[in-house]
């Protein structure tokens, strides 16, 4: 189903002007939230069924509830704006087109959980998003939507912006905390989870940009409305970044029952030059390749699970038949070897060996021994790596080989 909730103001308002945002219903949700007790706001988000939009799909309300329960202060709300997954550019559109909505979502999260400080961790390459957010924070603070005694209440919330320096792993939540704390960007072992030991060791809500942008409309229209959009297992509007060999690459909003074929043919105008789909990478480099015969699955969790994939951040990269798949796989293997932080053994060593083997295969040397080694590397990185980077570093390679008819097994 086509929706226009998250993108309703993108392209309609001037992202540099607070007045424009307010004139289009901005901060109405915050006003409404402040009239309720914080527990009620958490309940509403829980009842909505909203799950995180960064890729892990954790229920947002459950996360908020866990932080609200913590008595230690200060608590933090962190907006994960380190959008680095290859093929994902939806958060960028939100931050550049409707930056105040992200701030409003953060303020509501802070009010609901008792947090007093907020951090936005913006991907280093997103200079425009940074500038716009910077100006938005200043204007919102000046106007009393952020800062001390927000809108005359006794709720205070200060927002800081921090820029990343280009490391993919810093989008992993605990590595992101380490980075803000001034340390080497490496993930921490979980548990403890951020809800109890997050930024500076304090209870922390960390949500993706798109997750936070879902909050104001949810609070304004209620959980029941939210649940009425899309499939029951994952309700609400979702942004999809469609790129690659399509006529109209871009960010599209739909509910999660939309199928891959609809996204490619209806939303993105079909495969370019009338070509044919060879493979579709769903969920970015950490995602899974799906073959042309599986395009009718819905983009929901259960739908994509049937073909061994998951929606992830909502990236859809289309590879047409003119592209050499070996080049694509080599590029992905190189990406992971380059971005591995080097902390845990399976990923530090596995991504390097995976790159060497894929390099050899791409040059035409297909040896049985290498396929076996790739499968062992994939299983070991998936099962034993410390964070999501290593756990997913072999996904695209193995599924890509499968789509190419190379007879790889899931284990």
């Amino acid at each position: 189903m086509n929706t226009s909730v998250l993108l309703q103001r993108v392209g309609q308002v001037d992202p540099t002007r607070l007045e424009d945002y307010v004139a289009h219903g901005g901060f109405d949700a915050l006003r409404r939230a402040l009239l309720r007790r914080p527990e009620k706001v958490v309940e509403e988000v829980k009842a909505s069924g909203l799950v995180g939009r960064g890729g892990a799909a954790f229920p947002t309300g459950v996360k908020w509830e866990a932080v609200a329960r913590e008595s230690r202060t200060p608590k933090y709300v962190v907006c994960n704006a380190d959008e680095s997954e290859p093929g994902t550019f939806k958060d960028r559109v939100l931050m550049e087109g409707d930056p105040f909505a992200v701030l409003e979502g953060m303020a509501i999260a802070a009010y609901a959980t008792g947090a007093s400080e907020g951090y936005i961790y913006v991907r280093g390459e997103y200079a425009r998003a940074y500038t716009l957010l910077r100006s938005a924070v200043d204007q919102a603070t000046q106007a009393g939507f952020l800062g001390d005694a927000i809108l005359g209440s006794d709720f205070s919330f200060h927002v800081h912006i921090y820029r990343g320096a280009g490391a993919y792993v810093c989008g992993e939540e605990t590595a992101l905390f380490e980075s803000i704390e001034g340390k080497r960007g490496q993930p921490r072992q979980k548990p403890p989870f951020p809800t109890t030991h997050g930024l500076f060791g304090q209870p922390t809500v960390i949500n993706n940009v798109e997750t936070l942008a879902n909050v104001p409309p949810l609070i304004l229209n209620g959980a029941e409305w939210f649940r009425s959009l899309g499939p029951e297992e994952a309700p609400g509007p979702k942004l999809f970044s469609v790129s690659g060999a399509v006529n109209k690459p871009g960010v599209y909003e739909a509910t999660m029952d939309v199928t891959l074929r609809e996204l490619i043919e209806e939303y993105a105008g079909g495969v370019r030059d009338g070509g044919k789909v060879q493979a579709v990478l769903v969920g970015g480099a950490a995602g899974t390749f799906v073959g042309p015969k599986d395009l009718d699955v819905p983009m929901s969790f259960s739908g994509l699970r049937r073909v061994g994939a998951s929606p992830g951040s909502g990236a859809v990269m289309v590879v047409d038949e003119r592209v050499n798949m070996w080049d694509v796989l080599l590029r992905i293997a190189r990406f992971f070897a380059h971005e591995s932080c080097g902390k845990c053994y399976p990923c530090r060593l596995g991504t390097q060996r995976q790159l060497e083997i894929v390099t050899r295969m791409a040059s035409g040397a297909l040896r049985y021994k290498d396929f076996l080694r790739l499968q062992d590397l994939h299983a070991t990185m998936r099962d034993a790596s410390l964070c999501g980077l290593g756990q997913t570093a072999g996904n695209a390679i193995i599924s890509g080989l499968k789509v190419m008819g190379m007879g790889m097994s899931d284990d």
Binding site: R184, G342, Y345, R348, T351, R353, E356, D376, T380, A384
Partner: protein, 230 residues
């Protein structure tokens, strides 16, 4: 409160790790980076075990027990991960002075030559001070020395990790020779090194066949030269 480890019922207390619980009934879980005097980092992943119901394997050194958890320390999934990690390790490091790792490798049937066609980093041996020698060709990057030098023991912060991914390594800030760093030559890093990458100079010279007298004489000269240089 109890857990089931490899089919055995093990009584536990809530703060216990899986590693400790297993130890109680004589089940030894392979491990490398964990050390009794240091905060566990859970980065070598050799101690991973299968916890029924968990999506991934979990590191036994930090995972706390939960009542009635069912844990397997020798399942095929665990052995495959352990085997592959050891095979990967052997493809980058000289494990000749790490007999425990060689024993683990034999136990899980690891072929230590399996990835030997891959790139291998080589380093010069750093012999830049009178106290200890650093041979990073033997370094497994367990990070113990960095921890001992930093928050866990000495608060000296002479050691750090430089580079990233496969190219990570233990280093000094700006790659300075050790005497020019904050190092106080406490020796804690040498004490916690599991593979002989860090070695007391006496030990090395004894291995090379020098007599104790000759070693002391040599170290005295080195110290003099070092002070003179400064």
């Amino acid at each position: 409160m109890h857990v089931i480890i490899d089919g055995q019922r093990v009584p536990v207390s809530p703060e216990m790790t899986i590693l400790e619980a297993a130890e109680q009934v004589g089940i030894h879980i392979p491990r490398l980076c964990v050390h009794e005097s240091l905060t566990p980092q859970a980065l070598c992943r050799l101690c991973v075990v299968e916890w029924e119901g968990a999506r991934t394997l979990v590191p036994a050194c930090v995972a706390r027990v939960q009542d009635r958890a069912v844990i397997h320390t020798q399942s095929e999934r665990v052995r495959r991960a352990r085997r592959t990690i050891l095979e990967l390790l052997a493809s980058t490091v000289d494990l000749s002075e790490a007999p425990e790792l060689l024993a683990y490798a034999e136990e899980v049937g690891a072929d230590l030559e399996r990835f030997s066609d891959g790139e291998r980093l080589t380093f010069p041996v750093y012999d830049d001070n009178p106290f200890y020698v650093r041979d990073y060709n033997k370094c497994v990057l367990c990070g113990r020395c960095v921890q001992a030098c930093g928050d866990d023991m000495q608060f000296t912060y002479a050691l750090t990790i430089s580079g990233r991914g496969f190219h990570s390594r233990v280093d000094t800030f700006y790659h300075l020779p050790m005497p020019q760093t904050t190092c106080v030559f406490c020796g804690n890093c040498v004490a916690v090194c599991p593979t002989g990458a860090l070695k007391a100079k006496e030990e090395l010279l004894l291995e090379e066949g020098l007599s104790p007298e000759a070693i002391w004489q040599r170290k005295r000269e080195e110290k003099r030269a070092w002070y003179k240089e400064r």
